[in-house]
């Protein structure tokens, strides 16, 4: 079992899967970093975006990788609208209310998908879905390699937006000191909504990257979001670097525990890490003091 012939491919594949996890977690941590709430609707948004990618392929014939350029902006707008017109006004600025509203949204989105598309599991067939790259010591699935590269590009782009643009500066200002930012003339409601939109766009991109090799049903996103919760807790809530590294670590952990314990218990390994981190070091490995 421990021979490198099995271990190295498992670790590499774990890293590639982990990259997509990291992207889902990035959206979550971004929203937490600025709004200081955990977005419980994140998984439902992922399922919704996967359905969007599925129908973009079925109805318009768009390759999921091309569909990113359509679906990501669309979900940015949806996320912006949800925060600006639903979550923000409904929660009256109270954190606990915000949690409940995102939970309510999750329930609504998931069940609207269930009523509209039933519980059927759907997949799309792409010619390159099962092609691999032979590294000599390991085979890597092409969609996963593309996914890994795309996540790196998205993370770099997001970093650039945050450091170079005025909106990015405003987001960082609001994250640090909301009232101060408001006094400096920043429209906090707008920045909250932009952040929520960016987080939702991250999830939409992740959905497009997953679609070539994964299936979609109304609860498909749930599995990822619980993993994403673990990642952000591990990496530290609100920390972008933490989300990326945490995602890769969790990908490898899942791949290895799947190898040693079998599929159904592989997930338990993740949850146990989750609870252990929360109990021992709730601020995560990279998080600032709460």
């Amino acid at each position: 079992m421990l021979s490198p012939v099995i271990l190295i491919p498992a670790i590499l594949n774990g890293l590639l899967t982990g990259a997509v996890y990291a992207l889902v977690a990035l959206g979550l941590t971004l929203i937490y970093g600025v709004l200081h709430i955990i977005n419980f609707a994140h998984g439902a948004m992922l399922s919704a975006a996967m359905f969007a990618a599925f129908f973009a392929f079925r109805l318009l014939g768009l390759d999921p990788y091309v569909a990113i350029f359509l679906i990501a902006p669309a979900f940015f707008v949806i996320g912006y609208g949800l925060q600006r017109f639903v979550i923000g006004p409904a929660s009256h600025g109270d954190d606990r209310n915000m949690l409940l509203v995102t939970l309510g949204l999750a329930v609504v989105i998931e069940n609207v998908l269930l009523v509209a598309f039933r519980a059927d599991t759907r997949t799309i067939d792409l010619p390159y879905a099962f092609q691999t790259i032979d590294l000599g010591f390991a085979f890597l699935a092409i969609p996963r390699v593309i996914g890994f590269a795309a996540v790196l590009v998205v993370a770099l782009a997001l970093g650039a937006v945050m450091t170079l643009t005025d909106t990015g500066k405003a987001i960082r200002a609001v994250a640090k000191e909301k009232v101060g930012a408001q006094l400096a003339g920043i429209d906090v409601a707008h920045i909250y909504a932009v952040t929520f939109g960016l987080g939702t766009a991250c999830v939409a991109i992740a959905a497009c990257l997953l679609m070539p090799t994964y299936y979609v049903n109304p609860t498909a996103g749930e599995a990822f979001v619980l993993v994403a919760f673990t990642i952000v807790v591990l990496g530290g809530m609100g920390s972008v670097a933490g989300a990326l590294i945490g995602g890769l670590v969790i990908g490898v952990v899942e791949s290895l525990s799947g190898l040693f314990l079998g599929e159904s218990l592989g997930q338990i390994g993740i949850f146990l890490i989750f609870i252990a981190v929360l109990l021992v070091r709730p601020t995560g490995l990279f998080g600032a003091k709460a």
Binding site: I37, R96, L100, L103, V108, N111, F271
Partner: protein, 326 residues
């Protein structure tokens, strides 16, 4: 003693319902409504009075249900002690999770997240462990005798759940009258200030979580006896966690009657939704989610708060009228 008298009248009125209504459908509706009222009252003790929002109360519901069922099916324990064991097990689960999380200083968003994770771990374990019947679930043998806590008539089941709800109302009422309840509310309003005034926040929250878990576990035990079947999705699924917080939030969290009122409204709404749009899976959950968001947006103190607002409004307009006349 006015609120207590009011509560007793209300319970007696509800207890008289099966003498008038004989229809099984109607009784079934009331039983399920009271069941989620009980689940919700459990949540209300910790979330409403203590301000600790749990997103994983299914952990307690499921533990109560599974312990009751497994003791009867696998160890031939009588249902009555089985019921008590279920409540005790649920309370212990609450105490364990509470001790771990509150000791680590977990609050707010994190508390919601970690309770959700505990419920999920239990769900996954229950779906693979042989003792719970894994994916197949556990079936309790039909044995319609009072000694087996199963009854021929639905009316008796109705009185049992009503009695449990009455006890939970008394617990909530006691919270509003006792020192412990005052400490709990102080922790909800401002934990640091409460600690500074000498309240042991850890002990208070732990106590509230144990009572809260016991009440919700009792609902789980009743569920097992009434439906005679339990599986990991029913016991530990997110649906139960959502219903647990939905009823008190809609009815009015941190109030004695909130969960009961919320449960009746939520159940009626989902019946109406089924009647209007047919019994599509997921439909009633859409209604629940929308109602949850609408209530938070427009009635943050729930229906009880709305009624209270109406009362003060009427009183004020009467005063104004009197002033104008006088």
């Amino acid at each position: 003693m006015k609120p207590l008298a009011c509560m007793l009248t209300f319970i007696i009125a509800l207890a008289a319902v099966p003498l008038v209504v004989q229809s099984n459908t109607a009784l079934n509706f009331l039983i399920t409504a009271l069941l989620i009222a009980l689940v919700g009252q459990g949540w209300n003790i910790l979330g409403g009075y203590g301000g600790q929002y749990s997103f994983g109360h299914a952990a307690f519901f499921g533990t109560g249900a599974y312990v009751t069922a497994i003791l009867q099916v696998r160890y031939s324990v009588n249902a009555w002690p089985g019921f008590l064991a279920g409540v005790t097990a649920g309370a212990s689960m609450g105490a364990i999770i509470g001790a771990l999380t509150f000791r680590a200083g977990i609050r707010g968003s994190y508390f919601a997240l970690v309770t959700l994770a505990f419920a999920e771990v239990l769900r996954i374990l229950a779906s693979v462990a042989p003792i719970t019947g894994a994916g197949v679930g556990t079936l309790i043998k039909l044995d319609l005798r009072a000694s087996a806590l199963q009854f021929q008539s639905r009316a008796v089941f109705y009185w049992v759940i009503l009695a449990l709800v009455a006890v939970s109302l008394l617990i909530a009422y006691a919270l509003e009258r006792t020192r412990f309840g005052a400490w709990l509310i102080a922790v909800r309003e401002n934990e640091d200030a409460a600690t500074a005034l000498g309240v042991n926040a850890f002990k208070v929250k732990l106590g509230a979580m144990t009572i809260s878990a016991a009440v919700t576990a009792a609902a789980g035990c009743f569920y097992a006896q009434y439906f005679l079947f339990i599986d990991s999705g029913i016991a530990y699924g997110t649906r139960m966690s959502v219903e647990a917080l939905l009823t008190p939030i809609i009815g009015g969290s941190g109030t004695v009657f909130g969960p009961l009122l919320g449960a009746l409204v939520v159940k009626s709404l989902s019946e109406v939704a089924i009647w209007v749009a047919g019994d599509a899976p997921g439909l009633n959950l859409i209604v629940y989610g929308c109602v949850l968001i609408l209530v938070i947006a427009f009635a943050p103190r729930g229906l009880v708060g709305l009624l209270g607002g109406l009362k003060t409004h009427l009183a004020r307009s009467r005063l104004l009228k009197d002033a104008a006349n006088g």
